[in-house]
Amino acid sequence: MHVPDGFINAPTSAATGVIAAGAVAVSLRGARRELDERTAPLAGLVAAFIFAVQMLNFPVAAGTSGHLLGGALAAILVGPFTGVLCVSVVLLMQGILFADGGLTALGVNITNMAIVTTVVAYALFRGLVKVLPRTRRSVTVASFVAALVSVPAAALAFTLMYAIGGTTDVSIGKVATAMVGVHLLIGIGEAVITALTVGAVIAVRPDLVYGARGLTRKLKLRVNGELVDAPGAEPEPAPVAARTSHRKVWAAGLVTSLVLAGFVSFYASADPDGLEKVATDHGIDKKAEEHSAADSPLADYGVKDVDDARLSGGWRASSVWVSRSSRAPACSGPCAAAVRTTRPRRRPRARRARPAPRASDMGAGHAHKLYRHGHSPVHALPPHTKLAAVFAFVVVVVSTPREAMWAFGLYAVLLAVVAYLARVPAGFLLRRLLIEVPFVAFAVLMPFVAEGERVDVLGMSLSVNGLWGAWNVLAKGTLGVAASVLLAATTELRELLLGLQRLKLPPLLVQIASFMIRYGDVITDEMRRMRIARESRGFEARGVKHWGVLAKSAGALFIRSYERGERVHLAMVSRGYSGAMPVIDEVTASRAQWSYALALPLSALAVCLVGWTL
């Protein structure tokens, strides 16, 4: 689950932003050390893989299915640094291109989903691999445990952030219990799939599994009938983690504490009240799904009927929400999206028959689904000014006191003006806003579960604080999504990348993003072909017992992605690449363009300041 704007207050968002930026910077260095000039293509392709694999559905039972979060998998396959980078880039692109996850919540999302999962998983994994006997089975076991723990760990991190900067008063104990409890369950799925996938990769290309380096044998060559040792390319650098000797102790401590925390909260929450699976409100869920069959904003990922074709619409709209039956909150965890409920037996035909033209791309190159071609003054603005303006606008919105309801109305008017100037029709914008649906559900629950003073509305006892919280999340989240959608609707992908480059995002990060976008649909396409190949041989994944086959596909997909990354690197090298991308295009903005773009956040700022003083 991608946290939207307004969920976590501004100071905490800023703090997590700093943490995320720091971690990404460290990872950039670390990845460079490991992959040197291959970093950009390889990390880009792995990011595209993670993006694709998050859409690979693993059916659980009775219409429920889950998908990988991928943090643990990335860490084990490509190492912690590259892993953090890849998942971060995926999140960044999801935020900018698809308005998925708030721009101001990027720090929160990256910290939870990219950093915590990856680091926890890798530390555990290395620890276990060192303790266990040196066999491939140990690698699988270690992957299982690492992935299992990584998910509740991210939930715990989210709870911590919520405790510090949550915008609604909900008992933190309950949040923690429910979050960690349910994510432990989700973690089991993640663990099985991760372990199977790592197993599938290690069976074919053991040298590709970063976490299992050192388990490979020396290559032999047969020359004129004699076996000789291959001189080998440059020796692989030893994994950084392998050098520290305290690691074992550290990892063991970590396992114990995390597993304990996980189990305690799991049992705590399994009291007579029990965990109750509150699937997303059916009305809402249904609405989102029907929509996706037609022209859904959620289909923007443009996944061409990947796996079971539900993804485009279903994967975010119907997360599982868990609450204690009395008043505990539903948890939109960083990870809740990992399991989604779907009404059984409604899926096959109608969905497959979705019109094919949709099968354009997740956006590579020039057309991503949110983009609307046009020649308005907003389209013509240089991309970096637009990025800066939208980001500043969202920051202002998030910093506005929630009591100043009129201010949010004015913000909405400001966005409407921009939409008008950009000739983005209202209908288009409103439809795109449905991306927010899960949070509407969350907001609806808030008044019921929050603490403090209560009021009676239509005979229901609601928490005042909860009502404010719901309003806060809805207003800020919606404005955030609307602003991002406007940005994406008026800026071509290529331009967005140039804008990010111009805004001094580290070049390596921009390159990784650019490769991810270039190859995103090549890889989802490969995934689709694999599914077609499976199905045309009579295989259809129906439940847990088919995970093995799907994980093998995921493993194969990883190998293909990685090898393609290698080939792309080779093609680059063949044309003289030596680590720095030549700058071919650059964007510039005049002062007038800047002031035009900044008019939006500046007027918003004026509104905000009035809001604080009133």
């Binding site: 032999k220 004129n224 270039r518 063949s574 030549p582 071919i584």
Partner: protein, 252 residues
């Protein structure tokens, strides 16, 4: 052949992939400057693997590769990659930039070209392959054959001395196939062309090498090799129905 003037010289090259599968078992041959040579052989013979050794993309086996006398290795890598241009089998691997123009510009820009000079180089290369009007399209929106042509342009833009093409004619329509042949003939460079298209090899390359099971099984004039039925059968090479290499008069 005199080793000093050889444009490309490969000796004793053996190589195994990281998964342990050995693809080359000691390959020897030399190509003189300005020659056009076809590299023939069945699927899985190791042709692509060999090609990847020619500019140091694959290393770590035994034996040696020399380009214009320079050993392919760490110290001459930049020089060698400037001289050897490889068009890969899968154009998707080759076209990694967001637009056709940027992709073609990548090589020359990496070599330090800028501004109008760069634009001109890009335009010329695209013109040559007839893809000038696709300049601003993203590569993955092109058809396979168009991508292949752009891939050729990316290499032509670098003006290499040795041009290595891995199955350049596959997926091209007959007219494009002929146009590509015209381009190749018009260039004054050494060409090594991997192909399954035997008439194409005969048309373009006076000399051929047959790579089979990781070694060079035959080396000689293309017409002669293609007429040697026993040799052809032994290496799973088949001429298209009704094609007789002896009846073709070569205009190369």
């Amino acid at each position: 052949m005199d080793a000093v003037t050889a444009s490309l010289e490969v000796s004793g090259l053996a190589f195994a992939y990281p998964d342990g599968h050995q693809a080359l078992f000691g390959v020897d041959f030399a190509i003189a400057r300005g020659e056009r040579v076809a590299l023939l052989g069945p699927n899985g013979a190791g042709k692509t693997t060999l090609v990847l050794h020619l500019n140091g993309i694959l290393t770590g086996g035994t034996g040696s590769v020399r380009v214009a006398g320079l050993p392919v290795g760490r110290q001459h890598m930049a020089e060698i990659r400037r001289r050897v241009g490889i068009v890969f089998q899968d154009p998707d691997d080759q076209l990694f930039m967001p637009t056709v123009r940027e992709d073609v510009a990548f090589g020359p820009a990496a070599a330090g070209l800028k501004g109008p000079e760069l634009e001109e180089r890009v335009d010329r290369a695209l013109e040559r392959v007839g893809m000038a009007e696709f300049k601003d399209r993203p590569p993955h929106h092109l058809s396979f054959g168009q991508r292949r042509r752009v891939a050729v342009a990316t290499v032509l833009a670098m003006e290499p001395e040795i041009l290595v093409l891995d199955e350049p004619s596959s997926n091209l329509d007959p007219a494009s196939r002929r146009e590509l042949a015209d381009i190749l003939r018009s260039l004054e460079v050494t060409v090594l062309m991997v192909t399954h298209d035997l008439p194409y090899a005969l048309e373009l390359c006076p000399r051929s090498l047959i790579l089979s099971e990781g070694v060079i099984a035959a080396d000689g004039p293309t017409g002669e090799l293609l007429s040697d039925e026993e040799l052809m059968r032994a290496h799973r090479l088949e001429l298209p129905f009704g094609f007789d290499p002896r009846s073709v008069t070569m205009g190369a």
